[in-house]
């Protein structure tokens, strides 16, 4: 019996001992598991906020606790509808796996899923994740969730020394999965808080900073960059309104290549959107329409990538930039809100509120910068005007010369912005005289410089004209020769002024060549107000009215020839004749009833004073204009030049 029983006892004993060993091993694993759970909890509260970083620790603890050699943790990104592998054993990089919302809902119904037996409705998802499943040799999947919020999945493979997990191991796996779910939710919450903290700090920090920027270009750049930064966008632009043209013009874009290939109107580096036409219905709206709508209605707007024709297919959010008085100054637009992993998320309602708040501060900053710029420009313009005035006044003679047998008197009176009036009486070595009067278009330094150019050119040309006429003095004046010289002089001056300025810069010019020995006055008109000849008997004649050419510098010489060539004419002056040269500041003087002084009043005033001296005529005409003007403001200079034959 003993012999027989001994093996049985030994067998029982061995079995009992085996059971005890298994129980002890199980107990040891349970104790280890509890210890690892504590470790996992410590990892959770350690302050490591980034789950992607700590996920490797969670996977290591899970695999060690369950005696599994391979596994993965996947994190779900609802904005991208995908799962990212954040930890894997063996360590390897895997592509994201897309997942539909119906599949997410289906996964939530299954606490544990066998990899080779996917539930109904999840077959396609398991096909998409097959590469991962095969590479890691996944046997079981456990969805990670808190209540009904899907957070990811944990997959386990190659159970050490067994084919599957026993019941208590599965319960332990559920507990571990719950801990990992808490870690993901905690990480997401911390990331959200960090992001909000960053955004609010940047908003509070950047708004006062941009308000201190005084250059509009700097303000525009910083407005865009700060908005891009605190909204986690990867692009942004500021379009400013040009109310006169009903246009939006690109002020700054980030990155600089943002508008390359845009279909909107581009002139060089300018990108302009016309806002004049009607905005089409919303369902057809492109990004351009969205910007127009934001500028027009003053309300935020969105645009999906497929409708973005402006910035190359970005998810856009735009808000109006308003000034202090509520006028829309422009539109601030940001594009493609980033998420970790390169995903693009839609802008949220909170994003709109945040950007709109920032835009209110940005509006003040941009308005301030533009006002500062305008003040600077006004100051610079004022300084330029003063300089131009000095130049101009230096070009006008202080005293006019005495011409034998004649009286000459001049008057120049600046009124309003610096114009370009000029008169002169130049003595030529031949004993002849060159009298000129001109009115340069525009104002400021450019007009003053153009006038200086005209005067220099005139003096240079007169020295050449003088050579010819001096040769003729012995035999008397040859009018045809002077005509030719004067028309050539006009062409030379035209060419000089055309080369010096732009199309908008030109000069009306009247020149008189006086031979005091013969009393012949040869005249040439280049678009100037015809001077008035008042004869001693009171009859009047406009000089150069019939033969007037076009102003100097308006067209090139070859065009002048085809439009209206310069022509000279001559008159013979007799005692008592008066020639009154003037600029349009005289005839276009307005009174308080908005009436012009006009040529008729000049004729009447001139007739009334023809018999007095040139100085007295000047005074009389000036007084007449002043009396007519009354309290009305004037914006053009007043210039008179009087030549009287004694």
């Amino acid at each position: 019996m003993k012999d027989l029983s001994e093996p049985i006892l030994d067998r029982d004993l061995q079995q009992t001992q085996g059971a005890q060993n298994t129980a002890e091993q199980t107990m040891e694993r349970l104790i280890f598991s509890l210890s690892e759970l504590e470790h996992l909890g410590q990892t959770l509260i350690s302050g490591y906020s980034n789950f992607n970083h700590s996920s490797k620790t969670y996977l290591r603890i899970t695999l060690g606790t369950l005696q599994v050699t391979r596994g993965v943790i996947l994190r779900y990104h609802p904005t991208g509808n995908n799962l990212d592998v954040v930890a894997s054993t063996p360590e390897q990089v895997f592509p994201s796996i897309s997942i539909e919302s119906e599949e997410v809902a289906n996964l939530l119904q299954h606490p544990i899923i066998e990899n080779n037996a996917p539930p109904v409705g999840l077959e396609e998802f398991f096909v998409r994740s097959a590469e991962l499943g095969e590479t890691v040799d996944i046997r079981l999947w456990v969805p990670l969730k808190i209540q009904d919020e899907f957070l990811g999945m944990i997959g386990l493979g190659r159970f050490l020394g067994r084919e599957t997990l026993v019941a208590w191991e599965q319960e332990l796996l559920t507990t571990l999965a719950h801990q990992i779910s808490i870690a993901i939710a905690y990480s997401r919450m911390v990331e959200g808080i960090q992001s909000e903290k960053f955004r609010l700090f940047m908003l509070a920090e950047s708004a006062p900073q941009i308000c201190q920027l005084l250059q509009p270009e700097d303000a525009a750049e910083q407005v865009v960059l700060q908005a891009v930064s605190f909204l986690d966008a990867n692009a942004g632009a500021l379009m400013l309104t040009r109310p006169e043209q009903q246009e939006l013009e690109l002020s700054y874009a980030f990155p600089e290549t943002l508008v390359e290939g845009s279909t909107a109107q581009q002139n060089g580096n300018e990108l302009v959107i016309s806002c004049g036409e009607e905005t089409p219905p919303a369902q057809e709206a492109t990004s351009v329409d969205m910007l127009k709508s934001v500028a027009k209605d003053g309300l935020p707007g969105h645009c999906l990538p497929e409708s973005d024709t402006l910035f190359g297919g970005k998810n856009l959010m735009a808000v109006p930039i308003s000034g202090r008085d509520g006028d829309v100054l422009g539109v601030l637009v940001v594009g493609d809100k980033e998420e970790r992993g390169g995903r693009i998320a839609p802008f949220t309602d909170e994003d709109v509120v945040l950007l709109d708040s920032f835009a209110k501060q940005a509006g003040v900053a941009i308005e301030n910068a533009h006002l500062h710029q305008e003040a600077l420009e006004a100051r610079q313009l004022q300084a330029e005007m003063e300089e131009a005035r000095k130049i101009q006044e230096n070009l006008i003679p202080d005293d006019l010369p005495d011409i034998p047998g004649y009286e000459v008197a001049g008057h120049y009176e600046p009124r309003g912005p610096v114009g370009g009036d000029y008169y002169d009486c130049i003595a030529l070595p031949t004993g002849h005289w060159g009298l000129s009067i001109a009115d340069v278009s525009g104002k400021g330094m450019q007009a003053a410089l153009l006038m200086a150019t005209l005067r220099a050119g005139l003096i240079s040309e007169l020295s050449r004209v003088n050579t010819l006429t001096s040769g003729d003095t012995e035999n008397g004046v040859c009018p045809s020769a002077i005509y030719l010289e004067l028309t050539e002089m006009a062409m030379t001056l035209n060419s000089l002024l055309y080369a010096s300025g732009t199309e908008e810069k030109y000069a009306t010019f009247f020149y008189s060549h006086l031979n005091p020995e013969t009393d012949i006055l040869t005249t040439l008109n280049a678009g100037h107000n015809p001077p008035l000849l008042v004869k001693k008997d009171g009859t009047c004649k406009w000089l150069g009215e019939e033969v007037g050419g076009i102003p100097l510098g308006m067209f090139p010489n070859d065009m002048v020839s085809s439009i209206a060539e310069y022509e000279a004419e001559h008159i013979e002056l007799v005692s008592g004749d008066v020639v009154i040269y003037y600029t349009d500041g005289v005839t276009e003087t307005v009174n308080i009833e908005d009436e012009y002084y006009e040529e008729e009043r000049l004729v009447e005033a001139s007739k009334a004073c023809k018999d007095v001296s040139a100085d007295a005529i000047r005074e009389h005409l000036h007084d007449a204009v002043m009396k007519f003007q009354g309290e009305a403001d004037q914006f053009d200079d007043l210039t008179l030049l009087i030549l009287k034959k004694k």
């Binding site: 930064s229 998420e339 970790r340």
Partner: protein, 113 residues
Amino acid sequence: MNKFDIQIREDGEHAVIETAGYLNDALGEQLAEKAKELIGNGYTQLVINLEKTTLINSIGISILIEIIEALHEQEGALNFCGLSATQERTFRMMALAKYAGIFPDEESAIANL
């Protein structure tokens, strides 16, 4: 500003990572990858020079936090340099300055590792 670049300078026990451009997800991921490589190669004393990075978003900040955490696991250290005044205030507010040093230039950042 738009130029996007990462330069690495390894010198004995420490390494310097210099970034240029917008520190967002794209540049941040590259930065994290380079830092991971350096840590894997035994460099636990790192300097990140942000002088040419004038713009950072919250993802860039989170990636910097991740690098700090990875270095702390290795008992390493990280110093920043080349920060603008706003960036420095941001780093202090976001608690990065609690776990990493901030220095005005690369030389002092290296000296204080």
